[in-house]
């Protein structure tokens, strides 16, 4: 049997009870002194009486006092009946998957239900119990056993986590057994069985799963029209999971943009089948775009009903071309109506005084500057610099005939969906006089990412930070790239990609932005707490919204949306056929009985008083 009350409270109760018993004897009237000739006869009477009646009277008195004391102690200590109380070491694993945020038909969420379950387990356990609170995200639970109060505080700090892999933690390893043997603690898993369908053998499972209807956005993107980078369209994917047959199957989509622009669609996705929809954002101006869906009935997961995106601005671009006379570059750049071009001869002074306030982009068609300019760079010259990708040796550039070796420009695998290359046809593109970048040096540890080339030859590389840049490994004029039909589109995209505000789409949860230093603001301009993690900054993006990260002359728009088909499928639970665990009784049995116990103790005290005055007790 455990006790619901704190040890200090129990000790106080014991002292109080002892005090009551002592007072019971103190409050009895003092005997009246009587001088008698001799106690001889009285001694014989009392000795005889003590041998006989006094034993029973003493026993009755003792029993009454003990019962009264026990009742008081029980009333104070709140004992926990066997079976209703848990004790010892208890490991509670909380399912913190996104599906736990599902709203229940009866009100509240699965997480609320789970937290209440755990709260009752904690409060219903003995005072000496120890708890280890873990979550399925693996990084927010504790690492050691703690007391009840600390566990309750830790529970308040938990909640559904987005953007993480959820799995049942290795409890045996945490408990130190490590051998797979049964851990020396009671393990309880509270969840809905959606993300973490199974628990190890021996783990008590408390299900909070209840099916809930839901409709969610599983994909949302705003992208320029391939034919006109100045215009945008939105692609949205909607999925619907009805809970019953009375569902109308209608999902209303509303897309809102800056300046009051909006678009509305009525969609009828089949249950459980994603429905893609492309919506031209005609009339939408640069700025945030928000998509919201609504269904006729209750929606289980509000987080997937909203998705955010951002339309970059299309302002006039101030471009500096650094190179020798190059009519090709000048003509190509001047063809873009957004470009305001200026030309500078190559030389040490060409890159002096470059800053983002007077220039948006510099195109280098000659030797690169030693230091990376303070504005985005489109490099298509020769020579090397520390900030550029390293080049291979001369023999790799191709045979040394007069025309030079023609090298095809294949799109590096996995980069076909890069904003620069998406839907472009570069199958016939080739180049000569290639001073190829070392493809092997581009990758995880390099800021440059290879877009065109193969595993050895790097022909086009792009970097994101600290400023976006593009670097061709060959002169544009020595390739047939300008002759390709999609070259104007490639150049236009390159100008946009290099100069547009950077937009990153992230899921809900902890978001990371490649930015050495900076601050993060929400859509209302309030700064969001963030922290540096190496060359990145991390912040909490648990709510679907747009965030703005700014620092080092860069601005990154972060569109945080759930966009998780698994999270939206709230009812895909392995425990769907099981009834949800009933809530443990609040508090303890004894805590509800304490007034009765206290009354019982009072009655016993009165009985003792009456019995004493009737000489039934001593």
């Amino acid at each position: 049997m455990g006790f619901g009350a704190a040890p200090l409270l129990i000790a106080l109760g014991v002292l109080l009870t002892a005090g009551i018993i002592v007072v019971l004897y103190w409050v009895r009237p003092e005997p009246q002194p009587v001088v008698v000739p001799s106690n001889l006869i009285w001694r014989r009477v009392l000795d005889e009486r003590r041998r006989r009646e006094d034993f029973w009277r003493w026993l009755v008195s003792l029993v009454i006092a003990l019962l009264a004391g026990l009742a008081v102690i029980l009333a104070v200590a709140q004992p926990l009946p066997e079976g209703a109380a848990r004790g010892g070491r208890i490991v509670v694993v909380m399912d913190t998957a996104p599906s736990m945020a599902a709203a229940l038909p009866g009100g509240g969420t699965r997480w609320d239900q789970a937290a209440e379950q755990v709260r009752r387990i904690l409060t219903g356990s003995s005072e000496t119990s120890e708890f280890l609170l873990l979550d399925t995200a693996g990084d927010r639970g504790g690492r050691s056993f703690i007391g009840r109060r600390e566990a309750l505080e830790a529970l308040d700090g938990l909640g559904p986590v987005h953007g993480r892999e959820h799995r049942f933690p290795d409890v045996a390893d945490l408990l130190g057994s490590g051998s797979g043997a049964a851990p020396a603690a009671e393990v309880i898993f509270v969840g809905d069985g959606v993300y973490v369908p199974e628990a190890p053998e021996g783990v008590e499972r408390l299900s909070v799963f209840e099916s809930a209807p839901n409709a969610g956005i599983t994909a949302f993107d705003v992208r320029p029209l391939p034919s006109d980078p100045g215009r945008f369209e939105a692609f949205i994917e909607v999925v619907r999971y009805p809970a019953g047959d009375d569902d109308a199957g209608v999902v209303v989509l509303q897309i809102d943009g800056a300046g009051g622009a909006s678009a509305r669609r009525t969609l009828r996705p089949d249950p459980g089948t994603p429905l893609g929809e492309t919506v031209p954002l005609t009339g939408f101006v640069a700025g945030p775009v928000r998509a919201v869906i609504a269904i006729s009935g209750e929606d289980g997961l509000p987080a997937d009903d909203v998705a955010h995106a951002y339309i970059p601005a299309r302002n006039r671009l101030r471009v500096l071309l650094v190179g020798g006379p190059n009519p090709f570059w000048e003509a190509a750049l001047r063809l873009d109506p957004r470009v305001s071009l200026s030309v500078a001869a190559p030389g040490p002074d060409a890159f002096a005084d470059l800053d983002s306030g007077s220039l948006d982009l510099v195109v280098v068609d000659g030797p690169p500057p030693e230091a990376m300019p303070a504005v985005p760079v489109l490099f298509a010259g020769s020579g090397s610099a520390a900030w550029l990708p390293s080049r291979l040796g001369g023999e790799a550039a191709g045979p040394g005939d007069e025309e030079g070796t023609a090298v095809m420009l294949p799109v590096v695998r996995g980069q076909a969906e890069h904003p620069l290359l998406r839907d472009l046809n570069l199958e016939d593109a080739m180049a000569r006089d290639v001073a190829a970048f070392d493809a092997a040096s581009l990758g995880d540890r390099s800021p440059w990412t290879l877009l065109l080339g193969d595993s050895r030859l790097g022909l086009l590389a792009a970097r994101e930070s600290p400023l976006r840049s593009l670097a061709f490994a060959f002169p544009i004029a020595r390739s047939n790239l300008p002759l390709q039909a999609d070259f104007p589109l490639l150049l236009s995209r390159a100008l946009s990609w290099l100069t547009d505000v950077e937009v990153r789409r992230v899921g809900l949860g902890q978001a990371r932005v490649a930015m050495a230093a900076g601050a993060v603001f929400d859509a209302d301009g309030r700064e969001v707490p963030s922290r540096r993690l190496g060359s990145e900054i991390s912040f909490d993006a648990s709510e679907p919204s747009l965030y703005y990260a700014a620092g080092g002359g860069r601005e990154v728009v972060v569109a945080a949306s759930l966009l998780d088909r698994r999270a939206s499928d709230l009812n895909q639970s392995a425990w769907a056929g099981e009834p949800p665990a009933s809530l443990a009784p609040a508090g303890t049995v004894a805590s509800a009985l304490w007034p009765i116990l206290a009354l019982f103790a009072l009655l016993l005290i009165v009985a003792e008083w009456v019995a004493f005055h009737r000489h039934a007790t001593v």
Partner: protein, 295 residues
């Protein structure tokens, strides 16, 4: 007890005259000692039989009766002798209780017995005792010794504990003429009371025991919660007085008295209980009426 006023005033003397008249009728008048002990004396007149007990002189066993009855029976002869009367008056602290005090009551009884004895030319000796013999009046005979006895009794005072055994061992340790020992006491003696009687009995003395108790001792009236303090040794006992407890007290007192009475009856001694709340002459008459005192 106050000594400023004598116990033996005119009223007492008048009562003694009444007692003398009554005693004259009850006691045979002889110039020799009037008391005849139920001990084997020097006489030849067979007075009675009684069962043989350890310590009896086997010369007095009736062997013919033994052959007939297969029981040892002792023949008792009257001793026609001048036997002294020893009055042992308990002067312990417990005797100071009561209204009148038991001590005064006992002294009056002793005075009355002395008066009657001296009037009948008996040898009268009075002994104060507590834990030891605190004083005694040597045996006196003759009517002219009455006031000497009264003065001796008047001078007595209470105090201390009681030990009749120590007293008897001291008193009968010396050579004493065989006689009648009259004990006037409340018999609240922690020590071996019957052992004390044995000391007297072994010396062939006759004995009469008068237990003087107050009405409060016979029928206690105590508060519900009482802390009883012994007047002699100061010991305390806490009691919760209930009717049942009082019944047990009465029973224990009766057992105490019965034990003494059985002893006395067994050896032919006299025993009676005197209530100090009643007139002392009634107690004296009650003594005379017992066939254990007067033969």
């Amino acid at each position: 007890m106050s000594n400023s006023q004598t116990l033996f005033d005119n009223d007492f003397m008048e009562r003694l005259e009444y007692l003398k008249l009554m005693a004259t009728r009850m006691l045979p008048s002889r110039h020799r000692g009037e008391h005849r002990a139920r001990k084997r004396g020097s006489g030849i007149e067979l007075a009675d039989y009684r069962p043989y007990v350890d310590g009896d002189d086997t010369r007095d066993v009736d062997w013919k009766a033994f052959l007939r009855l297969d029981k040892l029976v002792l023949r008792i002869f009257d001793e026609e002798a001048d036997l002294p009367v020893y009055l042992f008056v308990d002067r312990s602290a417990s005797m100071a209780f009561g209204s009148p005090p038991k001590f005064d009551f006992a002294r009056k009884m002793a005075g009355a017995l002395s008066y009657i004895g001296l009037m009948n030319h008996d040898l009268i000796s009075i002994v104060w005792y507590g834990r030891k013999i605190d004083g005694w009046m040597a045996p006196k005979r003759g009517r002219n010794q009455i006031f000497r006895a009264f003065r001796f009794l008047d001078a007595g005072d209470t105090g201390g504990a009681t030990s009749l055994a120590a007293c008897f061992r001291t008193f009968f340790g010396s050579r004493r003429k065989r006689g009648l020992a009259v004990v006037l006491s409340d018999l609240m003696d922690e020590e071996d009371l019957l052992g004390a009687f044995d000391a007297c009995r072994y010396q062939k003395h006759d004995m009469f025991v008068v237990q003087v108790l107050t009405p409060e001792e016979l029928d206690p009236a105590l508060p519900d919660e009482a802390l009883l303090t012994d007047s002699e040794d100061g010991s305390e006992r806490r009691v919760r007085v209930t009717p049942r407890l009082l019944d047990r007290y009465q029973t224990a007192l009766a057992e105490h008295q019965q034990k003494v009475e059985e002893y006395c009856s067994r050896y032919g001694f006299g025993f009676c209980v005197a209530n100090s709340g009643e007139p002392f002459e009634d107690a004296v008459m009650a003594i005379f009426k017992t066939d254990r005192f007067i033969r």
